[in-house]
């Protein structure tokens, strides 16, 4: 039974990753999950310098989902290399995908160049879709021209394969996927969070200090599956699917729709072993359905 998948030349032992920003760099969850069993650790977004993020409250629950407005708090790429990448050295079986954020093209490039010679970095995920920062982030991800340009620019500076992370807050995700492909992306990942809002009716004020937040969790899964499906049928680069994956069924659904690998985000918060539970669910499904190679189900529902 073959569970390994190949994305842009990088071989992942299985298709199950966790989603950026929900797992730190793995340290905090290593008490619950043997990181060596993950397809990849996808790190929290890393910028050129430390970012303080947004004021609190940053988190609120919505039905079958949550809103977050962390605002990409991160210690900067220097600390990240010295601490987080060093920590990840010990997990040889697992690939490392570093999620990269920036306010400007220059900032993305600075991070990408700093990471170029870090051997522990197998792939870069370029976050052009964070709805929680004022500049950069989503601004790059909502116009096809901008997506193509930033992709081309980052690609020309990157040593590792690049995955462009797309925003679902768009009229036509296919156009964005094609723009990323045209810009030279090695793969795309989707979806980032959907912009939402919650108002406290007693206090008559926003629940989040940032007013809006990114919605994630099981509630967004049907939208994510639809978008992965649309992209899979529009581009020929591989897709890492995410958005509300909570059970192995959700993961298989995403793969049937066209994702080569899947990331698990919010589910970690209510089930710290979600990634492992999903992986074993996928394996059971393969046995039951007599699937020799997980790649054989990718995108077969058309």
């Amino acid at each position: 039974m073959k569970t390994s998948v190949n994305i842009a030349g990088v071989e992942f032992q299985n298709p199950v990753m966790e989603a950026s920003g929900t797992f730190g760099s793995g340290m905090e969850y290593s008490e619950f999950v043997d990181l060596n069993k993950l397809g990849a650790v996808v790190t929290k977004g890393v910028a050129n310098v430390p970012w303080p993020g947004n004021p609190t409250p940053r988190i609120t629950e919505v039905r079958s989902g949550m809103l977050n407005a962390i605002g990409l708090q991160n210690p900067g790429v220097e600390v990240f290399c010295e601490r987080d990448l060093k920590f990840l050295e010990q997990y040889k079986n697992t690939k490392v995908i570093v999620n990269v954020c920036g306010h400007s093209a220059e900032e993305y490039i600075e991070v990408v160049e700093r990471l170029a010679n870090e051997s522990r970095v197998d792939m870069l995920e370029i976050n052009i879709s964070c709805p929680n920062v004022k500049e950069g982030g989503i601004a790059f991800g909502q116009a096809p021209k901008a997506v193509e340009e930033i992709t081309r620019l980052v690609k020309s500076h990157a040593k590792q394969p690049i995955v462009m992370k797309l925003s679902p807050n768009v009229t036509d995700i296919k156009v964005m996927a094609k723009a990323a492909e045209a810009g030279g992306a090695d793969a795309i990942s989707l979806i980032n969070t959907l912009t939402g809002m919650k108002i406290d009716v007693e206090r008559q004020n926003f629940v989040l200090a940032n007013k809006t937040g990114g919605m994630s969790g099981p509630a967004v899964h049907p939208i994510a599956v639809r978008m992965v499906y649309e992209c899979a049928n529009s581009v020929s680069i591989p897709i890492i699917g995410m958005g509300g994956i909570t059970t192995w069924e959700d993961a298989i659904e995403m793969m049937l729709a066209g994702a080569t690998a899947v990331s698990v985000g919010t589910a970690n918060f209510f089930n710290p072993t979600a990634t492992m539970d999903i992986l074993s669910g996928i394996e059971d499904y393969m046995v039951r359905k007599k699937i020799e190679d997980i790649n054989s189900i990718v995108g077969i529902v058309k």
């Binding site: 929900t22 730190g24 210690p75 710290p272």
Partner: protein, 254 residues
């Protein structure tokens, strides 16, 4: 060591209007210290996020934890209907807990900040003055402090019992002195207690609260502002769930 498990409910009782006491059997009790909290999960799948509740009592011999909480929303309403024999999905113990210090300690609890002080008062090495603030004469848990604290001072907002005013009014009135103060309660209370501590040159630990998602330090949802650049974040943020909930009053912005 943190546990995620299905714990067994041993007992639940109502202490006052909207205030419940829940005792569960859980292996998390083996690792728990005062000031830590556990996450309790809702059985309703539409309520994704855990509810953080402080540990009020630890019985390692019996393998149990006790939590005391106020019903304020969907999760706590659900928990309030748990009965002996039911199960509860929990994760814990989480956070750092209170360092046990001093020969003379003051423990200060305000409202639903009272419960974590009970186990703390039990375990503190020195003498303990407990200062407990309530809205009115619904003095839940206060009796239980009489056994574990050397002194018990009550303050009520409406003046129905004890000092009419805040816990700090009570501390001022009683001219309390100590090596160390431990406080849990609403932010304005923590701020006032920290100021009292600073003025009297007493070391002060405060237990903070913030909206949480992961509870283990991964999501950066629950930060509070730190006075100095923090070692982990490299910005002026500390994670309440992991670096706290207990901080030195001088480390954080209150």
């Amino acid at each position: 060591m943190k546990i995620k498990e299905t714990a067994k409910v041993l007992n639940q009782s109502k202490l006052a209007e909207g205030i419940f006491s829940l005792t569960i059997a859980t292996t998390a009790s083996e690792y728990a210290i005062p000031g830590q909290f556990i996450n309790i999960f809702s059985k309703d799948a539409s309520n994704l996020l855990p509810r953080p509740i402080s540990i009020c009592e630890i019985d390692k011999a019996a393998g149990t934890l006790r939590m005391v909480y106020r019903v304020v929303g969907k999760g706590t309403t659900e928990f309030s209907s748990l009965k002996a024999g039911d199960t509860a999905e929990i994760m814990g113990p989480l956070g750092n807990g209170f360092p046990l210090e001093g020969e003379k300690a003051i423990v200060v609890g305000g409202g639903i900040g009272v419960p974590p002080m009970l186990e703390l008062a039990k375990q503190l090495p020195g003498s303990v003055t407990a200062v407990m603030g309530y809205r009115n004469d619904d003095l839940f848990l206060s009796e239980e402090f009489t056994d574990v604290a050397s002194d018990l001072i009550i303050a009520t907002d409406d003046g129905s019992v004890g000092v009419h005013g805040t816990v700090v009014d009570a501390m001022v009135e009683n001219e309390l002195e100590a090596d160390v103060i431990y406080a849990c309660g609403p932010k304005p209370m923590l701020r006032a207690v920290a100021q009292y501590a600073a003025e009297h040159n007493i070391k002060c630990y405060v237990s903070m609260e913030e909206r949480m998602a992961c509870g283990v330090g991964a999501c950066l949802g629950c930060v509070c502002q730190s006075k100095d650049v923090d070692d982990h974040s490299h910005v002026h943020n500390k994670r309440v769930c992991k670096d706290g909930p207990v901080f030195l009053s001088t480390e954080v912005v209150l």
